[in-house]
């Protein structure tokens, strides 16, 4: 795999940012977009635009077919059993809210427990908190170990007869830990507990196989996966989509409507109320094609090497403290520097065109646990190179100089 050629497919790197080459290490926040995806949006709007599903004229039929083609592509890409198991949402956040709301209101009652982990992004905590407020459920937190991982043993320990659903991340957006989802799902299912996986950080970097993982729900954020903003995916087993009540109500999701009652539509329409993000869905097909063309295994291998390189270089930098030390680290490297606040680091790095993120990365519970108010995070995509980490390290040394650190 030739990274330089791949990088050329991302037009953002053709332009200088404040006179610097862009060193983009913020892909866990959102990835850059390859030209094929951007072009697809352009072409769709300039030549083919119509709303989907509702009209029978030529453009509408064509758009509807394109829209459904993406659904099929996603199904195949994540190896879901059926096309109807793919629901388009506005983001992973909405996907998790959908499950929490629909599953929660149907199956949870006061005193029931939802098991999440200390690694969770706010998107996989706040929606359950709503149920804590409205229904009186309890939220249990599986704890991290020294390495910043959540082990199967910890999950085992936290499951009680009251655990009604387990909701957890596949890959931590802070420590980079990859959770043993398949084992957790097996364990959970042996006790009749469904599992929701927050796949935001794993989907862009790992091979996905829903039938192998066997989880009940899987949330994906398309903008982190070389796709357009404003789009997410909820994978859910068909039995759940059939069983659960719909989430938002509106056009397209009904079967019949009378003044005194309403019947809901079939899958997956039941969960896609209102005009959907048509152009984004259609363009996302190009994101999948792009990933498939390179090969997700190749992407994973490249990123693994990169992260290993970054880890080594930062470990050698005496002021830098890495957060977490998982056996296998996903595409993120979080760190702190004693004596320099992450926000100051980010601002100084930015001066050299090095874009990282500083803050709590929507993981305040984890930062509390680690006794940090904030951390700095470098995260990678297919377009990054070892040179990017060299530049990161150079800029970190500049920070140290400004702050008179050795």
């Amino acid at each position: 795999m030739n990274i330089i050629d791949i990088k050329k497919e991302f037009p953002i790197f053709n332009n200088k940012v404040q006179n610097n080459d862009l060193v983009y290490l913020d892909s866990a926040n959102s990835s850059q977009k390859p030209l094929v995806v951007i072009d697809r949006i352009y072409d769709f709007y300039t030549k083919e635009f119509s709303n989907v599903g509702r009209s029978v004229h030529y453009l509408a039929v064509a758009a509807t077919n394109l829209y459904e083609n993406t659904r099929s592509s996603v199904q195949k890409y994540i190896n879901a059993k059926e096309k109807d198991e793919i629901v388009f949402t506005k983001g992973a956040t909405e996907a998790i809210n959908l499950v929490a709301s629909s599953f929660g209101h149907k199956y949870l009652k006061e005193g029931d427990e939802v098991l999440i982990t200390e690694l969770e992004h706010h998107s996989n905590y706040v929606p359950w908190h709503y149920l804590r407020k409205s229904i009186g459920i309890k939220i249990e937190f599986a704890e991290i170990n020294q390495e910043g991982e959540v082990t199967i043993d910890e999950i085992k320990k936290k499951i009680t007869p009251k655990t009604k659903i387990i909701a957890l991340t596949h890959l931590s957006n802070v420590t980079g830990a990859i959770l043993p989802i398949k084992e957790i799902t097996q364990l959970a299912h042996s006790k009749g507990i469904p599992v929701l996986v927050d796949g935001c950080q794993s989907a862009p970097h790992m091979k996905l196989d829903m039938q192998d993982l066997d989880c009940d729900f899987y949330a994906i954020s398309c903008h982190k996966m070389y796709g357009p903003t404003g789009l997410g995916i909820l994978y859910a087993k068909k039995k759940w989509l059939e069983d659960l009540p719909p989430y938002q109500g509106g056009g397209g999701m009904i079967n019949w409507v009378k003044k005194d009652d309403i019947g809901y539509g079939d899958l997956p329409n039941k969960y896609e109320a209102g005009t959907m993000a048509t152009a984004q869905v259609i363009a996302f097909n190009e994101s999948i094609k792009f990933i498939k063309k390179i090969g997700i295994e190749n992407i994973a291998k490249h990123e693994e090497e990169l992260i290993k390189y970054g880890e080594e270089i930062l470990k050698k930098n005496n002021s830098v403290k890495l957060i977490g030390n998982p056996k296998k680290r996903g595409a993120v490297l979080s760190f702190t520097i004693d004596g320099i606040h992450p926000h100051d680091i980010a601002t100084i790095l930015d001066e050299d065109g090095v874009a990282i993120r500083a803050g709590h990365h929507c993981c305040q519970v984890l930062h509390d646990k680690l006794d940090l108010t904030a951390s700095a995070r470098a995260s990678v995509g297919v377009y990054n190179t070892t040179e990017d980490f060299d530049k990161l390290n150079l800029s970190i040394n500049k920070c140290k100089k400004i702050f008179n650190l050795k």
């Binding site: 509702r54 509408a60 079967n255 539509g265 079939d266």
Partner: protein, 155 residues
Amino acid sequence: MNLKELYQEIILDHGKNPRNLRKTENFNKDAKGHNPLCGDKVHIYLKINENKKIEDISFEGQGCAISMASASIMTDLVKGKEEFEVKEIVSDFLDMIKEKDKLNNKILHDDDKTKLMCLSGVKQYPMRVKCATLSWHTLTSAINNSQEEINTESN
């Protein structure tokens, strides 16, 4: 695309004057079908005797020319047939509308097949396929007496 193929004389005729548009007295099986997108509705009534032969079939409903003609032609063709034969005709028809060039069943006479093939013009109009197949899916449901309302949105 070819409008003339879609709106052949026979389709227009059946669409305007549908055969068997009534309710069978003493029907013993029935099912409802519905296309939520366009509002088409069909209700199929069957009278099947102890030998599993369709003694009578009729339908009530509202819809476009294609869906009315399809229900009309269908009811005409399956009347008097046995259940297993009807099932074969239905699946043959649905295969044809989906992908095949012609009908392969050995049950219908050639002139009946020709009549049915008049509906094949719909293949070029993906959004209209549902109109042509609604009554057929509903017939299957009536025979199986599955009680579930047929909803072509997902078909």
